[in-house]
Symmetry: C2
Subunit: 221 residues, 2 copies
């Protein structure tokens, strides 16, 4: 196997930070993959393109028609995105989204002759999203190793799984991540709505670091 | 969890037989899922529609842009499909195709409130396709159980994994599967080419059962 890995780059803060972290720490090539799954906040794909361009890594956007099987306000324009209250985050779950995304990344990695993928779930995701927890990724590594075309180990890296988003932003500020190029708002709005779950988490992470968020918001936080 | 399952229905013989087998053996609802992954033999999707219609089960076709990450003659019109020689079957592998398909089926199952999926790999696939082997599906069950939105077991059924295609056809003939509605040719041709790997296997399975294949072939077998 060659040295290198595929990173799932959503266009959000966490995966952008992961990309800059990989540029500093990884030997071998980095390939960024974004999934167009019919998300309401599809504008994040434009951010992914800009982030990959700024980082100077090859980037691919692949279509996956999750809206056709979904049941989530993130892919269904007819459903309302819940406002920021922790107990409602469950309503934004897209079934097996990270499994599908990680599998796509593994497929592309195999095509490239690589056997490593990176995802950037953070500790804040732990409560609501079971597929953001490390035991899930440990099991997925096994499954990938058994399903790969050729025998061998597959590695699924989640370097931020034990870090709070606040810590990830602290790391990213140190790494010089261009957060003005990232998108967060679940509503897909520019300026960002400032009120959905995702916006609220982002704003809190910047506030905790004592740094202003470079994004524009419709409702000034 | 409700009783019922999602079946991956390709439009080929094995999954068609599985559908008729489920109609006889399964309690609960059956939902058929087909994946449009840019396969050269896309015509099989029309067969899937007809098979689901004949069986009277709900059916969905979902897009998955494997051609964008592929490297296989099954999704790339510029690559030649190898003729039937066992040692070339590897060339038709699409990385993690079954993982992606099973994950899509699981996602739809979860949306429906179900926790069971069916796939129809057969023993003939064992040598060339590691993701057609039961240890892979055992591991996938673990992964699905850990990644599902709610805690609980997920079951991945592969009722034909230890049956040769010849035995599957024997079962299907007994069950009255309308094989004239199935598609097999990797080239996607109608009449079928009769010369690719897939056609050769199909013809051998009918011959072993002493029954004529109801399909038309360009080159008479």
């Amino acid at each position: 196997m060659k040295a290198g890995a595929v990173l799932l780059l959503s266009g959000g803060m966490d995966s952008a930070t992961c990309l800059w972290w990989m540029r500093r720490n990884l030997e071998g090539s980095i390939h960024a993959l974004s999934i167009d799954y019919g998300q309401r906040h599809r504008v994040e794909l434009e951010n992914a393109v800009r982030l990959a361009g700024r980082a100077g890594v090859p980037h691919k956007v692949v279509g996956l028609d999750l809206a056709a099987i979904g049941d989530s306000p993130l892919t269904d324009a007819a459903l309302e995105v819940p406002a920021a209250r922790e107990d409602r985050q469950l309503a934004t779950v897209v079934p097996f989204r990270n499994l599908l995304f990680a599998s796509m990344a593994a497929a592309w990695a195999e095509t490239l002759g690589l056997a490593e993928v990176y995802l950037a779930p953070v500790k804040d995701d732990y409560r609501s999203y079971r597929d953001c927890r490390r035991p899930f990724y440990d099991s997925l590594e096994q499954t990938l190793g058994l399903g790969a075309t050729h025998e061998g180990d597959f590695v699924v890296h989640t370097p931020f799984v034990h870090k709070w988003k606040t810590e990830v932003v602290a790391l990213g500020l140190e790494l010089g991540v261009p957060y003005e190029l990232t998108h967060t708002c679940y509503e897909g709005k520019r300026p960002a709505c400032g009120q959905c779950d995702a916006c609220a988490e982002r704003l809190a992470a910047f506030a905790a670091n004592g740094v202003p968020d470079p994004l524009a918001y419709a409702v000034q936080p």
